[in-house]
Symmetry: C2
Subunit: 403 residues, 2 copies
């Protein structure tokens, strides 16, 4: 399903999509920093955006594009977030949209704009204009990798993803690129995710699917509890696969939604695993609650606890910190009924620490991927949150003076 070749193809894996990434000089490092993704055939569009009250200018502009239900392109940059930039920021985001649209030969409101990077700095519009024009000129069916690298900031690598499903006898393709790292939190933290598909689907159904999927993917990861001003997840569906257009909930819709969910959860996990300074990837499963919301609240309380995260960094099977974070989550609980397992090994049950094989637990704690299972013993609902540990490197990355 996730072949190396398809993953590399990323957003250009689905039919009819091209992409490019260029060096416009916006990142201080001189790396790739402006990306364009384009479909000549008009695509249905859906999007979800940051819930931060201090949203960046491109968020306002792109929300309006999503409202139209269709689009042709995404223009994005890294290195400057165009957030907290006031009126000038809005002018710049609209200019970014217009420059890309003119170069592509489409309407301005057919272009989503996205920015990530330093807050409070104006976009260098001369560099942006040059970069966008160059990116449009370089649009290519093999351009996804460059586009992916152009949207990353402190990520250690660009995330890409691809999959194929059959809908109504037609092969339907999905591809995606994403950036994450610091400041990742529920509710779409500093994350950009651009998903393409050649499925034919009604834009309202596309939005419905995306909104539901985001709740169990990108909103279930936490790096450091911060939520950014710039996050967005955009899906473009251009219909090139030739399937009968999905216009109602049914088998085709479910197949489509499952594929989109696998893309989003796969990327969410990889964003969590690549959190700033991360050395461990932690999966926090909470079950036995009365509601999904309760399970999520408990899992997030554990996933966000700096004491839990530093313990896993130190490979310390400190279940006391985990049960403590469960206890202050705010969900009524019975400590006697609660069971905590690390890597399948019970470490807390019946209100006390469990006897465990120290050697086996040491093996669990020394692995890169660690699963924490918490059974509250009080219902049938469950939730899974993905996060990473808290390391010296996190403090280093974020404690360095980089204005």
């Amino acid at each position: 399903m996730f072949s190396e070749k398809n993953v590399k193809a990323g957003v250009t894996f689905p039919k009819g999509f091209k992409a490019a990434g260029v060096k416009a000089g916006i990142k201080k490092s001189g790396n790739l920093d402006v990306a364009v993704i384009y479909t000549e055939k008009e695509a249905a569009i859906a999007g979800t955006f940051t819930q931060n009250a201090v949203a960046a200018a491109p968020v306002f502009v792109s929300r309006d594009v999503v409202k139209t239900g269709t689009a042709h392109a995404i223009a994005a940059n890294a290195g400057c977030a165009n957030a907290c930039t006031g009126e000038q920021g809005m002018k710049d985001a609209l200019a970014m949209q217009k420059i890309a649209a003119e170069a592509l030969g489409c309407a301005a409101n057919d272009v989503v704009v996205a920015s990530t990077g330093v807050i409070g700095v104006n976009l260098p519009m001369d560099k942006m204009e040059k970069g966008l024009k160059q990116a449009v000129a370089e649009l290519d069916e093999n351009g996804s990798e460059k586009a992916g690298n152009a949207i990353i900031t402190t990520d250690t690598y660009s995330k890409a993803c691809a999959t194929t499903v059959t809908i109504g006898g037609k092969e339907v393709r999905f591809g995606a690129i994403a950036k994450g790292s610091g400041m990742i939190q529920p509710n779409m933290a500093t994350m950009l995710c651009f998903i393409t598909t050649d499925a034919a689907i009604d834009s309202k159904l596309l939005q419905q699917a995306l909104s539901e999927i985001v709740e169990v993917s990108f909103n279930m990861i936490s790096i450091d509890g911060d939520m950014s001003t710039n996050d967005m997840c955009i899906v473009l569906a251009n219909g090139e696969a030739g399937n009968a257009k999905i216009t109602a909930v049914g088998d085709d819709y479910e197949t489509f939604k499952n594929a989109l969910q696998s893309i989003c959860q796969g990327l969410a996990k990889r964003i969590a695993a690549d959190g700033e300074g991360a050395t461990k990837f932690l999966t926090v499963n909470v079950k036995g609650t009365k509601s999904f919301a309760d399970a999520k609240t408990i899992a997030m309380s554990v996933a966000k606890s700096p004491l839990v995260k530093t313990a896993f960094f130190g490979e310390d099977p400190n279940w006391g910190r985990v049960i403590c974070a469960v206890g202050y989550a705010g969900v009524p609980m019975d400590p006697q009924k609660t069971v905590v397992k690390f890597g399948g090994i019970p470490v807390y049950a019946n209100g006390v620490g469990a006897a465990f094989d120290e050697e086996a637990l040491r093996t669990v704690m020394s692995a890169h991927d660690i699963v924490i299972d918490i059974d509250m013993g009080d219902g049938e609902e469950e939730a899974t949150v993905w996060t990473c540990d808290f390391s010296y490197e996190y403090v280093k990355i974020n404690g360095e003076y980089h204005t």
Copy 2:
């Protein structure tokens, strides 16, 4: 008001109180680890406790003592939290209470018990018994400093405090010892605070005063967002000052409450300043909100943000992270109306970064104590939260394997 001599006297500064701290061998370091505070004359008692659903055994035992309205003593240890210890833990906490009471010659339910340290380990009761008996034998009018040192864990120093006020023509004294450091969060995180006073006051009024004061002192600090299983704040008022007993709200009550509040806020600030690995003491003032709760929510969102805390560690005047944390606090806001100042210097206003004197701001950021003022411009209410920065040392302290 806070003379060196009185502060050193701590919980033994008020008339009629004795204290002791001894080495019982519960801390691995071999340092002082069992403390007793005692008043021969019966004292009115008030207490507030952790809201963690996984409360430690001593919390259950001491809640019952507070319910009786009177007490003679506090018996405490560091090195073992007696949390997540099941039935054995309850037996041990009750035995700890009984041993101290017998040695002191008072009833078991006249003794508050408190523990702090490692979770999930049973109290070594032989060491505890020997330590308690020794502490009672060593009770002394100069014993506060030793008692203070016996309750600290990763604190870099013991916190003590003292003050004097005049009530009804009589000198009334207050003294206190406290421990804090990691895991400090609103709602009484791993914090033990023992306050003594020779005021005569009705226990219900004492509880009313304490409960209100905790909301604007210990519940307004955050180190890492974690909340412990063991926190408690206890006040003993033995009436030795000879003031006419305070039995109703009025001038005497207000004078008493102001003094108690100055004690609690002073200790809360020092606990925040001595958070694990802290290199900076941060005061987050939020004003211009519709309610105290809104102001507190915003201030806590800023104080708990790892990105904000690492920025201050790095002396980086990164107002973008502050306004971002304000934005995701969940309180409706207008970014245009919000003003952020560091050390009195505006850094964000009118939706954008403010022009500032870089040299002056560098001086602000390089100081140990930094004040962050946030004016939401949307009301008359305000709140202040105290916290510290996030350093390499925090990760080191908490990432070391110490089971």
